[in-house]
């Protein structure tokens, strides 16, 4: 059990509170060197896990944000067309052969490294965060899988780039669509849930040490009660922290003292119109009345 405890400690020093089962998964992840897929609702801190890993291992974090239509030129590499054209212009008067000119403009200085290429050409293994993989399309997913199994990228003009180090690959997904079987089978899986009350309390006090015990307890209890409601977009950890920061700024130290502040500052927690409408003043009152 000790190595798990050690990893937990390391992550905590890096500013992340990890449950033992998460630490066990992360340990396995570093040992097996397989990609890790973190799935969970938006705002449960999936990205934060990758960042904390990078800090804990004292290595670089390279992030690839996925979106629909993401293609190889944005994810792997691209030639710097503008620079190439300028170089051609400049060389026009020089007496180089066409081959020499071509070789010149298809050389390293004209290559724009995008995250995937960047990640496999590092001297030390970085953490490669492929964020929101479910937003990219299936085509890209297949390409990513290829890179993740071969750890080499071929650039027609330059040849094949072999990985100088194998990155720790963390993928996150909000499960908006089903990922391909091949990818799922390749990855370790961890489902990130909303934090428990204790965990969220520790996060709040770690990030905003100036918050009092009482307010922290009330805020976390309130947010947890909100998550129980049937909302379209449940408040995540970032929302909790925003709210605490906002409350601190207006010097609230006890939610029950000023229930009207709660209602007014709910914009920090509820981000859609439907949710704002669903959480009426009466609901807020009821929730506040139940606070410790």
């Amino acid at each position: 059990m000790d190595d798990i405890g050690q990893l937990q400690k390391r992550l905590e020093d890096a500013g992340y509170v990890a449950e033992p089962d998460l630490a066990a998964t992360l340990l396995l992840f570093t040992q097996l060197r397989r990609p890790l897929l973190l799935e969970g609702e938006a705002g449960v801190g999936k990205t934060e896990i990758a960042k904390a890993l990078a800090r804990a291992f004292d290595t670089r974090l390279i992030r690839l944000q996925c979106y629909e239509g993401l293609d190889a030129s944005a994810a792997v590499y691209e030639w710097n067309y503008q620079r190439q054209l300028l170089a051609i212009k400049i060389q026009e008067s020089e007496a180089h052969s066409a081959e020499e000119k071509e070789e010149h403009i298809f050389s390293e200085p004209f290559l724009l490294r995008r995250p995937l290429l960047e990640a496999i050409t590092q001297p030390d293994p970085p953490v490669l965060l492929v964020d929101e993989i479910d937003r990219a399309d299936e085509e890209f997913e297949a390409y990513l899988l290829e890179v993740l199994s071969d750890f080499q990228i071929s650039i027609p003009e330059l040849g094949t780039v072999e990985a100088s180090s194998v990155p720790y690959v963390v993928l996150t997904s909000n499960a908006t669509r089903e990922l391909s079987d091949a990818l799922l089978r390749r990855c370790l899986y961890y489902y990130v849930d909303y934090p428990s009350v204790e965990k969220e309390l520790r996060i709040v006090s770690a990030r905003l040490p100036e918050v009092g015990q009482r307010l922290a307890g009330q805020v976390v209890a309130f947010v947890h009660a909100l998550r129980e409601l049937d909302l379209r977009k449940k408040p995540g950890i970032a929302e909790t922290l925003d709210w605490v920061a906002a409350l601190l700024r207006v010097k609230v130290s006890d939610l029950t003292e000023r229930p009207e502040w709660v209602a007014q500052s709910l914009v920090c927690l509820l981000k859609t119109r439907e949710d704002r409408a669903a959480v009426t003043d009466e609901v807020v009152e009821r929730l506040v009345a139940r606070l410790p």
């Binding site: 066990a24 503008q82 299936e138 669509r177 089903e178 799922l184 089978r185 899986y189 489902y191 049937d230």
Partner: protein, 392 residues
């Protein structure tokens, strides 16, 4: 039958004569029967992981195998129970049998339900085990085939229904994958917008420094599903709702409505990730509905309230048996409106799959003139046949 000595299975040298390996493989096998994606590669991985973390500390074994073998929330949530059922020495039989979500094979009535498999295997005699592994897999495939052909209303037991619902949902997702692939083949990469590129190059002395790209055309259809959930449809409603759930989850631009005397948008409820909670939400939505079906009125409601969804990209799929208690003229008029504005109007009628059914219901008669496709939808196979129609 002692728990300490399960029979090692015939899978690689690791397993031979190693009771731990045998149990791990047996456990993975049980998961597979419960619908987990676990093949030979996963078995080898599980062995490696088990060798690494050992089985003395059950918590570590659980966490490690869970990360390795699960690949979605559903499996993640079921894993702990399955793990306990297999690895906890006390009360094993009772626990195993309490495991819900019986896999497809269980419904076949041949042999034990999947969840109980590991135990049964240990208890079984020496003789019949050798071929059990591969036999089970085949059983699964044919069972799935059988489910695809079975009329929804003939599915009686709960497990079969759930399995079928899950298939309906997967089907919807697969459709999207196919449609996307088709679209991708049609569109060969990014294209340069020549006119704009040349225009922009003017400020650089004619050198095309800034390339302008053509915007990619959006080809996936917008789907509007209108589901009849009246009593005469009750045997089918849940399947179509699950199918709609798959559609709504897989297509960004899909909208689902349920109706019998009123029309209610259900996309939001369908997006709920937990199928049980979705059932509850839908039940609340349909509370207080009286009997009868007013298809015409419901469609009028759709046209006036949600007509903006209709357009040249929109495919409307109406699922109903056509038993309408309202005026047939109204139904015809409203259908014509939809037909005029949408790209395609498809009417799925589950009754069409029955022997000897003729669309004689008055509502159906009024409708036939205005629909592009009148098709059956009484089993999964007929739902799957819908796919090419969506991109017409």
């Amino acid at each position: 039958m002692s728990d300490a000595q399960p029979r090692p299975r015939d899978r690689g040298a690791e397993a031979a004569g190693n009771p731990l390996a045998g149990r791990i493989l047996d456990f993975v096998d049980g998961l597979r029967r419960d619908g987990f994606r676990a093949g030979v590669a996963e078995e080898l991985d599980a062995l490696e992981v088990a060798a690494r973390v050992g089985i003395v500390d059950r918590r570590r074994l659980r966490w490690a195998l869970r990360s390795l073998l699960c690949s979605d929330v559903d499996e993640w949530r079921r894993f702990d129970r399955l793990f306990d059922a297999y690895w906890q020495p006390a009360n094993r039989r009772a626990r195993v049998q309490a495991v819900p979500g019986v896999p497809l094979q269980g419904a076949a009535g041949q042999g034990p339900a999947g969840g109980t498999r590991p135990l049964e295997q240990e208890g079984a005699g020496e003789g019949d085990d050798s071929g059990a592994g591969s036999g089970g897999v085949q059983g699964g495939a044919s069972e799935r085939e059988l489910l695809e052909k079975t009329d929804f209303r003939l599915l009686l037991d709960e497990a079969q229904m759930r399995a079928c619902e899950r298939l309906a949902e997967h089907l919807a997702r697969r459709m999207r994958r196919h449609l996307l692939r088709r679209e991708r083949i049609a569109r060969l990469g990014r294209r340069v917008h020549m006119r704009r590129t040349i225009h922009r190059s003017l400020q650089h002395g004619g050198v095309p420094l800034e390339l302008a790209w053509r915007r990619r055309r959006e080809r996936l259809p917008r789907l509007v599903l209108l589901l009849d959930v009246s009593r005469s449809m009750s045997l089918y409603s849940m399947f179509f709702l699950r199918f709609a759930r798959g559609i709504v989850a897989a297509f960004d631009d899909a909208h689902a409505f349920a109706f019998h005397t009123r029309l209610v948008p259900v996309s939001e409820a369908l997006r709920d990730r937990d199928p049980e909670r979705m059932r509850d939400k839908l039940a609340v939505l349909s509370l207080g509905w009286s009997g009868g079906t007013r298809i015409g009125e419901s469609l009028a409601r759709f046209n006036s309230g949600h007509g903006r969804l209709l357009g040249s990209r929109t495919v409307v799929v109406l699922v109903s048996d056509g038993y309408d208690t309202g005026a047939p003229e109204l139904l015809g008029r409203e259908l014509a409106k939809i037909h005029d504005r949408a790209r395609r109007l498809i009417w799925l009628n589950p009754l069409l799959g029955r022997e000897g059914y003729e669309p004689v219901a008055q509502g159906m008669q009024a409708a036939l003139a205005h629909i592009d496709l009148f098709a059956t939808a009484h089993n999964l196979e007929s739902l799957a046949a819908l796919e090419p129609e969506l991109v017409r």
